[in-house]
Subunit: 320 residues, 2 copies
């Protein structure tokens, strides 16, 4: 089943302790689609300027990514420049030139409006709401955001969050948006707005999945796959989203067990992403590579089976 | 089956952002025995001065901890003072007065020499070697150490490590001792000295178990149990060791599967330790509390069962 993604396309300048790159493919969409297209057909809605290199468009086409929602408009493509320190934690943004993204209003082609899996990548929450109003009863909507919108468009973001099934954030975003220093308390506040689940990305420390269960929360935790050679963390979050949604779209299974496995796919795919600049490590990646990594990881993290009763409980659908 | 522990007993002064305590029970032995005695009979070899409060001795006796190896000598008990910053990471040592520990030479009572499980807590590696020479073919010897011995008694520590089954260290100790910045490369260097397994304690990020397998390493990773109220991290490592060895001594099972579960017991017990000062959170703790936590944690971390073949592979003994 298909996945629709709406987000940015950029040309990035990145500096890390291991080198730097200029005018490389970046933005949430390219990271997302290169991975998601391994799992399912992808429908991309975004904008680039007329300066956008043909080679990148050819690459998207080689993956059978539907580009009818990609607007090519006069002007320059979004530029982003960032720098990472030795701990490779959050990037310091050196420059952002919105260019054609400044006037972007996503138009969902008619043929895309029934796509059942929707990823609202990190963009203005008002645009995220515009997109949702154009979609027809999607089965799963996942939303990403960032600190900028939490500070400058809090009400819109709150409204957007109340309309999606799953929110993907990192730990500091959970704390910022909820105003809670404790991550579980913060998760509770976010889930009270309406989403069924919250995925908290923890970088080298893995991820957590918190599913709303009546008055309580079902908590799942997974460590990160150990990576010996982190080169550039850019895009880890977008590819996490792609592994997560890709797995769910491919299986069509929205049980608790499936969401847990989807989180594992997200963490594994992110661990590939950070091993090279831009999407370079992801270009040759296959689903078989991810599945081999999954199998290794399953072995590396197992210590005790569940009972049949528990397995049964995990396999129930979370929502229709 | 019994567990012998040789280590320090101290009276601590601790400062954390959440308060401070003076003259509270500390040192590796008290933290270890309060937990290990929940799993198995414990034989404690250590030293205190004549100033050591009777109430603490009474507490040890209430747990049926064999104190015939505890030397009470004229002079003052070891004093340690430390401070933790807001991240509650490594303590800054404010003062250490060795007192009676300065002249300590552990004498293992004859009745203790056949105890099959031996924990060499963090003390001078020359003493660790003295102890081993007094023991008769223990089934499992686990060694803890610290940066001080890695710098000042490297050769002795290397010799001690070569004679034990399992080494317990934290990430920075692995890097310091091995000279490798990559943790897996560091683990390989330590395992090449002779131990069958290395457990790497990662604090709030959980733990790793690396088991030597011919030319390779079998890697197991587990996240930490989420704790909302960390008060004082002192003793987390010693109680990790106690949960780890306690589980192995109680089950008598030295398979890979059992070592993995033992690591989980270690992480869970450590998560209780940090919730209060000194051993205060551990005094009321029962094995049933740990098992309930284990059951919750198993649910929280499960995403995919292993095959029967894999379960079988995990259940083979690692050493005789």
């Amino acid at each position: 089943m298909g996945i629709l993604v709406v987000g940015s396309i950029a040309l990035d300048r990145v500096e890390t302790p291991f080198g730097s790159r200029e005018e490389v493919l970046g933005g949430s969409c390219p990271y997302f689609v290169v991975v998601a297209s391994l799992y399912a057909p992808v429908y991309m809605v975004s904008v680039v300027g007329t300066d956008f290199p043909q080679a990148h468009l050819d690459f998207f086409r080689s993956r059978k990514i539907d580009l009818r929602g990609l607007q090519v408009v006069p002007g320059k493509t979004l530029r982003w420049a960032g720098r990472y320190g030795h701990d490779l934690a959050d990037a310091e943004t050196l420059a952002t030139e919105l260019n054609v993204l400044g006037d972007f209003h996503p138009i969902i082609p008619d043929d895309f409006r029934h796509v059942p899996y929707v990823f609202l990548a990190n963009i203005d929450p008002d645009l995220q709401i515009e997109i949702l109003s154009q979609m027809q009863a999607p089965r799963l909507v996942v939303l990403d955001s960032m600190n900028y919108w939490m500070i400058h468009k809090r009400d819109s973001l709150q409204k957007a969050i109340s309309r999606v099934h799953v929110v993907l954030l990192n730990e500091s975003e959970v704390r910022l948006f909820s105003g809670e220093s404790n991550i579980i308390a913060g998760a509770r506040a976010i889930l009270s707005l309406g989403p069924k689940a919250l995925v908290i990305k923890r970088g080298e420390h893995g991820a957590m999945l918190l599913i709303s269960q009546g008055q309580g929360i079902d908590l799942f935790m997974v460590p990160a796959f150990p990576v010996e050679n982190v080169v550039d963390p850019t895009g880890a979050g977008d590819t996490f989203a792609a592994g997560f949604m890709g797995y769910l779209a491919k299986t069509g299974d929205l049980s608790m067990a499936s969401l847990r496995r989807a989180v594992v796919h997200g963490t594994l795919v992110a661990s590939f992403t950070v091993q090279d600049f831009s999407i370079d490590r992801l270009r040759p990646l296959t689903l078989a590579d991810i599945e081999a990594c999954y199998s290794t990881f399953r072995w590396m993290t197992h210590f005790e089976p569940l009972s049949d009763l528990e397995v049964n409980r995990l396999s129930r659908p979370i929502w229709a």
